[in-house]
Symmetry: C2
Subunit: 403 residues, 2 copies
């Protein structure tokens, strides 16, 4: 009796053969510990499996649209404290840029800043009129949001300056100047899309698709492109000149220009710089940035009534400017912070995109900037000395810009 | 001794106060069952929580880009066996379409089929030359894939026929005819994008972004648009006419045409037909489909050297054609299967998009088709009887097409 009570005390609630409803399959009497450990191990394994599955599924979902680009972003966030090497590079480049700004400023007896402000105001007024806030409201809002997001108006000013260089009047070139800015804005909207560079920030503001959604961004890009051609035809220019201008602009956008550069740029991501020649890099930049800058200047010269020789000189000048623009862009991407640039800095580097500093080094890139600046000026020889000044100042501005 | 041995036998491996490494916190001696159940319940709860989290996270990820459109697709798949009402509608519409085909065919002593084939071959040859397979290869491949995916070439044929109607030669209008087809193809690529209609099928083939990826699809769309304007300027046409043609084409693509229609179309999804007026529906179609058809015909008439009066007659005719095209499209979407159409059928209905059958009913839509066909013919009165024949036949073709 005593021993049986003792036995009852020891296994008080679990009669032999009892199966716990949670303990599937195993009798729990004397095997209770084995049951606990096997079951809990099994449950923990399920949890681990589910957690891993969840983490990987979430990661995969996030990675799938553009694995590399997301990784870039992750890496970039970790890069908040730059390594010694990049601190050196940044300091190095800042010195170079600051010093060259001083050198060039000595030559600037022309008063470039007021000139830029005056021209930019003219263009902004014309753009404001060309893109009113009418129906379809959403599209016009998106178009205006992007075009008035603080662009420097380099392309339209180049267009106006080239027109005046060959003796034309500013007024006749204003519609064309607006058109090149519309095209440029369209290309920015496209570049920033999730399936392209997937950028959230442009000129320090959220990108168009972030504010208006992807479909409105794409539609407003198309609308800007169409409006560029429509607006162009409103210029007070002879039909013969206009047809040439349309051809020049269309060429700069498509597979002989912008699109070719964008396509090559996308496919070059992640390539080893050693496998890439300087010519390939130039191909991207001549097409992606250079083509529209070239078209802007050439269109200005055509509208201004330049001779064939003059137009070709302007074209060669603009080619130098286009390449200069991009080399400086690459240097800035390498050496400046996101805040200073108003866009995500260091992106090209982390994305494995080919840049001049990556392919030829920072020192040689800086030398290249100086060489291109000299070359650009040479192409302007023979033009009226006073009319050349804005273009020389613009070249210096592009070479020495900080964002 | 005996009792102590018994005790040892009963709790053989777990000394009092022992804590299982898996059983955090609770002593496992006499509380082992309470421990088992609390622990397992806790573990099961974690599993349930993780599973729910996983399911919802996955669902959310899938829904987020365009919740409505994904739902549409799910609903659409369930709709494989159409309800009695839609079977009736399909039969009803087929009878209507078949009968009207017979009626119109009696009038077709012109031989429209060989005419269409001849013209389409001319255009295809010209397009093949205009879009060669060169660098950037991926972009040209995508452009060619989409433009040679079996389009009926209605717009370019309309352009050529309008040119010949006013006395022009086919040759001078061929570049323009190619251009309008390029613009049309660009609009299809854009329409099918995931952030727009998110379509996998077009003309019975996978859509451009499905084959080449989104970024190449967007770039090839932009390239087609640019090429359209560049190619246009190669036509052997006076500069004055060309400027007018560029303006007409640009207008038809932007916020006064295609983009306006696409924007309104996107924002009309899911609206109650009762809240929507017929005028709103016409606005979408006049812009989305009508504008480019109108531009195609007007451009043809301008290149062909038509008088202002003739050009305006052609414009009115094309406006009827444009609307006719869309009403028939809506009827087909309501009444045909995906296989017959070569694209996802019934999509507009499920997407809650406004269509003529939804707003005015199928019967009235069919009457509207007849009225538009009559109106279109009336605008052609006064032109040479023989030269009008292709356009009348084209109108009948559009009214009676099956896909």
């Amino acid at each position: 009796m005593e021993s049986s009570r003792k036995e009852n005390n020891v296994v008080p609630a679990v009669p032999a053969g009892f199966r716990s409803p949670l303990c599937s399959g195993w009798p729990c009497s004397s095997l209770s510990m084995a049951c606990v450990s096997t079951q809990t191990i099994f449950l923990y394994l399920v949890i681990v499996f589910l957690s891993l599955h969840f983490v990987f599924a979430t990661l995969k979902q996030r990675l799938s649209p553009a694995i590399t680009r997301r990784l870039i972003r992750l890496l970039h966030r970790r890069n908040k404290f730059p390594a010694a090497a990049s601190v050196f590079l940044r300091k190095d480049a800042r010195e170079f840029l600051d010093s060259s700004t001083q050198i060039e400023n000595k030559e600037d007896d022309f008063g470039f800043k007021p000139y830029m402000i005056r021209k930019a105001e003219t263009i902004n007024r014309a753009l404001d009129k060309a893109i009113p806030l009418i129906e379809p409201l959403n599209i016009y809002k998106a178009m205006r949001y992007t075009i008035f997001a603080g662009g420097k108006r380099v392309r339209p000013i180049l267009c106006l300056a080239a027109c005046e260089l060959v003796g034309g009047g500013e007024r006749s070139a204003i519609p064309a100047a607006c058109s090149v800015e519309m095209i440029h804005t369209m290309s920015l909207i496209k570049d920033d899309l999730p399936c392209m560079d997937n950028d959230d920030l442009r000129r320090g503001k959220p990108t168009t698709h972030k504010v208006f959604g992807e479909s409105v961004a794409i539609l407003s890009g198309g609308a800007l492109l169409a409006l560029a051609f429509e607006h162009l035809t409103e210029a007070d220019v002879s039909s013969k000149k206009m047809v040439r201008v349309v051809k020049e602009l269309a060429k700069s956008i498509g597979t002989k220009g912008l699109v070719a550069g964008q396509a090559m740029d996308l496919s070059s991501e992640g390539l080893d710089p050693n496998d890439f020649r300087l010519e390939d890099l130039e191909y991207i930049h001549v097409h992606k940035t250079g083509a529209l800058l070239e078209a802007s200047a050439v269109i200005g010269a055509v509208i201004g009534g330049g001779s064939e020789e003059e137009i070709e000189k302007v074209r060669s000048f603009a080619r130098c400017i286009g390449l200069l623009f991009q080399v400086v862009d690459d240097i800035l991407d390498e050496t400046k912070s996101s805040e200073e640039l108003g866009k995500t800095a260091g992106k090209d580097k982390v994305a494995g995109k080919l840049t001049y500093p990556r392919v030829i080094g920072l020192e040689k890139s800086k030398e290249f900037v100086k060489k291109l600046n000299r070359d650009a000026r040479e192409h302007l020889q023979g033009f009226d000395e006073d009319k050349v000044k804005p273009l020389i100042a613009l070249t210096n501005f592009i070479a020495n810009r900080n964002n």
